[in-house]
């Protein structure tokens, strides 16, 4: 009896997981096949799920390789490659900068005792939760005054609003897990403070740094609102730039789909490579 109930439960579990997985994967499948359909098939009145003529012409047009094969107002003038390069330049810089700013603060929060410590931690971490629009509205004019509007530097700076708290959240947990005794014995062996930090603590926290760098890369790459409000047409990252295929008149679905595939690849590939760190980083960030 018990065994039969268990088997029934298992069947139920598989059906539930299978249904959920189908819902998770279908949008990926749909956008992918849209990106390799001809324009004619994309706008076909009866949507084609399996049988269509596969082509790479949308990708060629997106990067302006060869003569345009699809039609529409964007053909021949899509700066998609520029958007992509903007993201590829800004994201690593923003990640490096947040490690530089966040690691010392995380270390101090994990290792030192001082008055107002929890208040300070709250200040940093609350920046991750609070709606950024409150600072983005004034920054729109402040950035213009300081010449930061529509610049790489401006985007890198504002990304720290989320990246630094995330770095502190995750790294503080990692540092706290390192036994203090290792540092203390290094001091006894004659290391000065700086040597302890750079030769002992930071190398030991390397997995934490990988997890943090991975999470901040994904967050920076996926970010939309900061760039939408503080970047104009010049330095637009790919997440904002791809919306240019959506106008009030019509949406250029085939080009948008291929742009979506390209823009989604970096975080998805990273997630597969660093899955272990993803789970560790997210749970540390959320639980500790």
């Amino acid at each position: 009896m018990e065994k039969k109930a268990r088997r029934l439960l298992l069947v139920g579990v598989y059906i539930f997981l299978g249904l959920y997985l189908a819902i998770v994967l279908f949008p990926f499948y749909w956008i992918f096949i849209t990106s390799i359909k001809t324009e004619k098939d994309v706008i076909a009145y009866i949507p084609k799920f399996f049988r269509f003529e596969a082509t790479l012409e949308n990708y060629a047009d997106l990067f302006q390789i060869g003569a345009p094969k699809t039609t529409g107002e964007f053909i021949g003038k899509t700066p998609f490659l520029d958007y992509l390069l903007n993201s590829l330049k800004v994201v690593p810089a923003a990640v490096g900068f947040s490690l530089l700013l966040g690691i010392p603060a995380a270390y101090a929060l994990a290792r030192y005792r001082f008055p107002g410590k929890e208040k300070l931690a709250f200040f940093y971490i609350s920046q991750y939760f609070l709606p950024p629009i409150i600072v983005l509205l004034p920054l729109y004019t402040i950035y213009q005054k300081f010449g930061l509007y529509d610049t790489y530097l401006g985007l890198i700076l504002i990304l720290q609003l989320v990246n630094v708290p995330l770095t502190i959240l995750v790294m503080r947990g990692f540092f706290a897990e390192l036994p203090v005794e290792i540092e203390e014995s290094a001091v006894i062996d004659g290391c000065n403070f700086w040597q302890v930090l750079t030769k002992i603590s930071i190398p030991l926290a390397a997995p934490g740094i990988t997890a943090t760098a991975f999470l901040t890369t994904v967050f920076s790459w996926n970010n939309f609102l900061f760039a939408l409000m503080l970047v104009g047409t010049e330095k637009m990252p790919v997440t904002v730039g791809m919306l240019s295929f959506q106008t009030y008149v019509k949406v250029q679905w085939n080009l948008m789909a291929s742009a979506a595939i390209i823009a989604a690849l970096p975080p998805l590939v990273l997630a597969f490579l660093f899955q272990k760190y993803l789970v560790r980083g997210l749970t540390l960030g959320a639980i500790k």
Partner: protein
């Protein structure tokens, strides 16, 4: 724990940046909300709380508030329950291919929300989209997914659920896996069934984690942006307009900086309240 007065040096680089990107603009926003500043005219005057009074007296404002609350509480509860159900399902001993399943289930969380929303917008397409086609094949009437008020709000919320359920799932799964199997073993020896194991062991142990996931998702879904901006821009009419999007729209479409700041302030206070509860909760656990 070390003690050293120079510990402040660790914070100076990040704090000086935050003074510029967080504190100064925040103060500026408070001031802005007390003026009638616009993006068009360089002159403006200080009008005390008139923006707030007008906001609270406006009928539309309470619609935005209602929509914001329905959206964030709605998606948070659904994501929490669905995430818990998925975590429990994946935690069943006999289920095979757990690693692959987990990787695939995490995909939407890694996706830029803009792209996830675009994907669903193509699926929701009323005439040529796959969803209505499937409905028609089943003999059902097509649905105007994003074109009518009630449907639009539910469809947009579904996009949020799609994107962020994996967040609840992954954290709750880690919480479940952290429970020692010995506890279950001894309870089983005492004759506890699956439901009792869940109700009296997993759930109480998981309770603080559930609370944290709830608060994080609540705080973040109060400021959801891409899911709405990319799919409906707040429409049809104002049926999917939330406080966050209304603040953005007031600023960038109507150029009313003062009013936009007042909307943003109101939203900020709500989320600030939630994050205070969050911090108290984390200190307790």
């Amino acid at each position: 724990m070390y003690k050293n007065r120079r510990v402040i040096l660790f914070f100076i680089p990040s704090l000086s940046l935050f003074a510029f990107i967080a504190l100064y603009p925040f103060g500026y926003a408070v001031y802005l909300s007390l003026t009638d500043a616009t993006l068009i005219s360089p002159t403006y005057s200080f009008i005390w709380f008139r923006n707030y009074v007008k906001m609270f007296l406006g009928a539309d404002f309470w619609v935005y508030v209602k929509t914001t609350f329905i959206y964030s509480f709605g998606v948070t509860f659904i994501e929490l329950f669905l995430g818990l159900a998925l975590a429990l399902a994946l935690n069943v001993t006999e289920v095979r291919g757990k690693k692959v399943l987990r990787s695939l289930m995490l995909l939407p969380l890694m996706l830029p929300p803009v792209i996830g929303t675009l994907m669903w917008t193509t699926i929701y397409e009323p005439e040529r989209g796959p969803l209505n086609f499937i409905l028609s094949q089943l003999g059902l009437r097509p649905i105007s997914w994003l074109g009518r008020p009630v449907e639009a709000l539910s469809s947009v919320m579904l996009i949020d659920v799609y994107l962020f359920t994996p967040f609840a799932f992954i954290i709750l799964l880690a919480g479940l896996q952290g429970i020692s199997p010995y506890i279950y073993e001894s309870a089983k020896l005492d004759g506890a069934g699956s439901w009792n194991l869940f109700r009296h062991i997993s759930l109480p142990i998981l309770n603080p984690t559930l609370m944290l996931v709830f608060l994080i998702r609540l705080a973040l879904s109060f400021q959801a942006f891409e899911t709405i901006y990319v799919s409906t821009r707040g429409g049809p009419a104002i049926s999917t307009m939330t406080l966050n999007l209304q603040s953005y729209t007031t600023y960038f479409r109507y150029y009313h900086a003062g009013k936009a700041a007042a909307y943003a302030m109101f939203l900020w206070i709500i989320v600030f309240g939630i994050s205070n509860i969050f911090m108290k909760q984390t200190r307790r656990t």
